[in-house]
């Protein structure tokens, strides 16, 4: 079982790396077959990582959601599937290259760094709502990630058009309007999902504050999350009121995504991720 676990994990991560490499090749060469192979790799990687989750669940008898390898694998599965779905239309298929390239980097980190957590037993999740909370959060993060990458694609395409550079990139990119529409849709789905995730966590913590401590609402992660809710509320409002569009919206979304990354990774690195932070300070 352990061998099967390793095979599924490495195969899944590496298939995502290959998918990223193929999508970049497509961007460079424009051969639609290459992108199709990349999509197959995503499906293969997703299947392998799902198998990894199943094996880990069977091996340890717990829901595998808490380690770094679990988090990265879940992120790969959700983002990969979501991105193939978003780019299923021909006119935005090139966008997949912008999505899969950073996912390839995540796959590489997963295989090279996170593998050490693979054979550690996942923490026992004491409350069922946590599973829902984590699932929703990852879906929201995946949508924000896609929005961030769409913004990057928009800025890249815009810069080429502004400076009259017609390269292979401009010829294959979706139109600015399509990128703007995709970005707006992603925000429209990601924002309510993010709010729902926080609301669900809030209700759960309010009803049963014991696992998080009495001052959970002062934890940096919670406070920053609420700042992000306000930030994205402004961005979504300005976009749909017609006041913010194109490059400015893209810069804003990229900034928001960077803050989310800090929220997720930065706080962990700084040791500020726990909910007991203020209780411990006191």
């Amino acid at each position: 079982m352990v061998v099967a676990l390793h095979i599924a994990f490495y195969l899944g991560s590496l298939l995502y790396v290959c998918a990223g490499a193929l999508s970049m090749t497509y961007l460079w060469r424009g051969d639609a077959r290459v992108l199709r192979y990349g999509i197959w790799m995503v499906w293969g990687g997703t299947a392998a990582l799902l198998a990894m989750f199943a094996i880990r669940g069977i091996l340890y008898g717990r829901i595998p959601l808490t380690s770094l390898s679990d988090s990265l694998s879940l992120f790969l599965i959700m983002s990969g599937t979501l991105m193939v779905f978003i780019t299923r239309r021909d006119n935005v298929s090139t966008l997949l290259s912008f999505y899969l390239a950073p996912l390839a980097a995540v796959g590489l980190v997963n295989a090279v760094i996170a593998h050490r957590y693979l054979t550690e037993a996942p923490m026992l999740l004491q409350r069922a709502p946590l599973v829902v909370h984590v699932g929703l959060a990852f879906l929201a993060y995946s949508l924000f990630f896609a929005a961030g990458m769409t913004s990057a694609a928009y800025l890249c395409h815009m810069s080429h058009l502004k400076h009259h550079r017609t390269t292979w990139l401009t010829r294959r990119m979706p139109s600015l309007q399509e990128l703007d529409t995709t970005l707006s849709r992603l925000l429209l789905y990601a924002y309510p999902l993010f709010v729902l995730t926080l609301a669900q966590g809030l209700v759960w913590a309010w009803i049963d504050p014991s696992p998080l401590g009495p001052q959970w609402w002062l934890a940096p992660k919670v406070l920053l999350s609420f700042v992000m809710v306000l930030f994205y509320a402004c961005a979504v409002h300005l976009r749909f009121a017609g006041m913010l569009r194109g490059p400015k919206l893209s810069y804003l979304v990229l900034f928001g995504f960077a803050v989310l990354l800090i929220l997720y990774i930065g706080l962990s690195l700084l040791g500020l991720r726990g909910y007991h932070f203020w209780s411990e300070q006191a």
Partner: protein, 424 residues
Amino acid sequence: MSLVAVGLSHHTSPVETRERLGFPAHTLPGALLQLSKRLDKAGTVILSTCNRVEIYAHYAGEAESARNEIRAFLSEWHKLPVEEFKDALYEHEGRDAVGHLFRVASGLDSLVIGETQILGQVHDAYIAAQTEQTADKVIHNLFQSAFTVAKQIRSQTAVGEGKVSVSSVAVDLAASIFGDLTGKAVMVIGSGEMGELTLKSLVTHGVKSVIVVNRHPERAQALAAQYNGEALPFETLSDHLHRADIIISTTAAPRTILHADHFHHALKSRQQAPLLVIDIAVPRDVDADVGELDNVYLYNIDDLEQVVNENIEVRRREIEQCLAIAERGVDQFMHWMGSLIVAPTITSMAKELEIIRERETQKTLASLPDLTEKQRYEIEYLTKRIVNNILKRPMTEIKHEVGHHDPGTVVHLVKRLFGIEESM
């Protein structure tokens, strides 16, 4: 059996010659039937466009006589002495003819490399031949292979990417910004020829709403009427700027007429929706500062020409790869054609061996009268297996060889080896 391509194109002849040798659509059925009859019901296709006139024929006899017949047909049909167009003709046979068609269908032989219109024209020529039943099995496979190769070249290389005329580059830019142009509005300022050409291209690609602004109201109305558009006086230009998604400026004004201030107001009214400004005028109509504004994409004539040149260069760089794909297609087709030529020989070879097997088996069985039915069957079965195994390798090798060498030589050798009648 020979496959020939005889024709003339923009590479070898002036437009006057091509005009005289062209086949208008209504004359094509008659021409196809007459040509096919002349070539003893050979498979024939006539491709006639403004840039080329070509005849493809699959003929039962020698290539030389097919070429002579085609020349004579062209002369008779167009009532022109052969001497008048002989020098403009190119003639290909076998592999060269196949390669030529593949290059033509892929747009590699076109005036504008990589253009796609020719593929439609080749398709029409093939359909016309099919309708008149002058496309035989070989012609059918030849043209289907040409379409496959053309599609491969288009999808696997960048030869068709990027437009190579100023007006089509403008359409490309509009598509890069807006995607689908349906429902977009275009404003034309002035009445330059290039501006009208660009407007025409945009309307062809789905732009519905046309606004024409001109200092001369009658000119504005004349152009607007052509596209069911709206004519506006020049003085109201800045009030209507926000209504356009694409602005084509082509006036003869001695100094710039549109500045950043005009666009600030327009963008606000448009809720920051992007705006493409194509300034084809010399001297320029639009202040260069406008290009610095967010959501405004300004291109002047030099910028457009630079894009055209870059696109031409991209297409040139792809030619080598395109030719390699075409060459692979030729290999596959020639292999198929070779197998078609040797198929009767392979059948005869198998028949010959079957006759020997049958004769020798019967002799042996006659000398062994005590054998049971089952034993007789086993012996029969054994001999069949031996013959099949003996035939397997030669059959594979023959099919392989005809793809790389002259099928006639291979067929002749096989016939000699197995003592097959020459008439077969």
